[in-house]
Symmetry: C2
Subunit: 401 residues, 2 copies
Amino acid sequence: MNSGHTIKTTLLALVFLAFTCTSIDSLACATTPRGTGDLGVVVERENGSLLVVEHSSDQVLCRIEGLGDLSHASAVYSRDARYAYIFGRDGGLTKVDILNGTIVKRVIQGGNSIGGAISQDGSLIAVSNYVPGGVKIFNSLDLSLVADIPATIPDSTEQSKTVGLVDAPGQKFIFSLFEGASTWIADLSNPVQPKITKFEQIGKQPYDALISGDGRYYIAGLFGEDGLAMLDLWQPDKGMRRILPGYSRGHDKLPVYKMPHLEGWAVAGESIFLPAMGLHQVLVVDKNTWEESGRIELKGQPVFAIARPDGRQVWVNFAYPDNNWIQVIDVPSLQVIKTLDVGKGALHMEFTPRGEKVWISVRDKDQIKVFDTETLRLIKTLKADKPSGIFFTNRAGKIGL
Amino acid sequence: MNSGHTIKTTLLALVFLAFTCTSIDSLACATTPRGTGDLGVVVERENGSLLVVEHSSDQVLCRIEGLGDLSHASAVYSRDARYAYIFGRDGGLTKVDILNGTIVKRVIQGGNSIGGAISQDGSLIAVSNYVPGGVKIFNSLDLSLVADIPATIPDSTEQSKTVGLVDAPGQKFIFSLFEGASTWIADLSNPVQPKITKFEQIGKQPYDALISGDGRYYIAGLFGEDGLAMLDLWQPDKGMRRILPGYSRGHDKLPVYKMPHLEGWAVAGESIFLPAMGLHQVLVVDKNTWEESGRIELKGQPVFAIARPDGRQVWVNFAYPDNNWIQVIDVPSLQVIKTLDVGKGALHMEFTPRGEKVWISVRDKDQIKVFDTETLRLIKTLKADKPSGIFFTNRAGKIGL
């Protein structure tokens, strides 16, 4: 056997490998250039791994391992939709290259963290921490520390847990202080010198928050009292005001199995759909008055209520013991038009960018189920190891995601 | 010189070439994998060429030539944000690979065309034609013809020019018949058998149309009479209704230099901003009632009025002889907060996905100017040959774009 033959054989073997590596345990993701507009990641929480997925033909492309504790993990994307930043529960911040399926950089930035955000221009990553509290700002290229914002509780020297961290237009981050009963706006126009605007006494124990899709309204949920606190970022001088005083009404009647997620609120038509706390209901809120206009009875305690991108439907999942159900609400009629039994542990839903499909992670079945949102039929089932969060790359271009 | 040396020299030359080919006339675009979330194309109308651009660091990557007559050309993107479909005035439909800067396929599908759309699921491309009229549907992979929808004028055997073609949720395309005074919904759920719903006598000579960002409202502008025709796609049984009867009020007083583009309407806060016809004004319309709530005086006859993605500002450009101006409206106060002289032939504006920057093509200066939308300052000028339309890849994930 001459050396020319050996080279030829090796090349053939490599070509063969490139075309047959379809196991999700293979290390290499894409080996050739491809678009990143239809990619995403699925969090496998037990293993500390991610699946890189593609939603044009609904496939798993590869698995990336070694991301630590991924319970409650979330992700944001770089402007070019190539890199995902994963916020782990263990304080880990990991930058992942989804094109080639590798970890670019990983830092342990805190002791216990609960999510993050990317700045409007894509240059900064913010992470909110339970321990030691506060918010840290990193350079999105190399994850070097740019700024550290301690969240000191008013009239105290103690640090507060920070929650509900989102990005907002004008290179701002907004977050709330659980023990500090405050919401802060951090303007990072000059990244090494954050300019902080504080709103105090917004209500007891803000535990989560959301920002509207246009980046105008920041709304914090309150654990310690009834109602929500809202800030109109177009009129910050008016301060935060309380809305929906009856939001938690009746939550003493039933045990709250899981606090509903506010990020999952649905703006659809002229209404906002909010998961009720501890009740088998979704609240309908009039977008113009911020007042409750109705309630829809459901199968269980809602966790996420998410609008299809065109706002015509709202999909709802539920807390234990009803977490096998998904219900679909038709927005014009406010009726439940479908109840799906997808299997225990239906944790997350993610719509494709234009809304023709929805991916649902079903943890206890180790599956991702893909539904057609027009026919409401199952169109594909994918394997995944205890999947939870699903994040598609079109989030890269969206305010507050 | 031995052959090993020759190979080494050639390799070094190739490496050198790869790193120095920054001329925009170089044939090769990206040679290595990269994300496509921050890419776009700029139409160079005189040359029949496109620039592939990147808006993270605001650069031109390469030029693609041979696209025919690109006056009034527009573009849509594949789901994966890798391929652009360019609709030329000469009936040409060209599929372009923006990652490697090549033409994948080009067909002349009609004699004279005026724009197109991509279906919700990305599988179909629709093109509307002036000559011979009607709408043709192509497979997005290979541009093979899937369906041909003749637009026969009611009570006639003649074909109508089709205008205002957009995509809508549920695998639908919507368009209007200029001579036919109609709007048609084509449901392509079964692509070889389009299901057509017709709305007749909507008003004389619809000349352009738009669909709201949520895919719910389709609004056609009328050339032959005053006002606009609107269809609520959530209630198609209610038919089309006339709105804004005073829309063209006063357009006899001034010559209309250019029909305003409806695609450029701006939804911001509770208002919609529409370029007035023939007047130096933008109309403010209440989104809840569809009635006019005010008018803002401007420098010239507006062509496009486009909202920054967060809806806080509306940017306006103008028809000749005022096409060197750009004006910025602050939405809460309805005041013009900036008037910019960017140079003659300011034809198009495109915001980056989260709105921190806007690109403006300035035809007569052979430039693209990039502005920071917070400081309203020029941050970069790029060279381009008679640039017109600018299209960024985040359109891939948006209904109606």
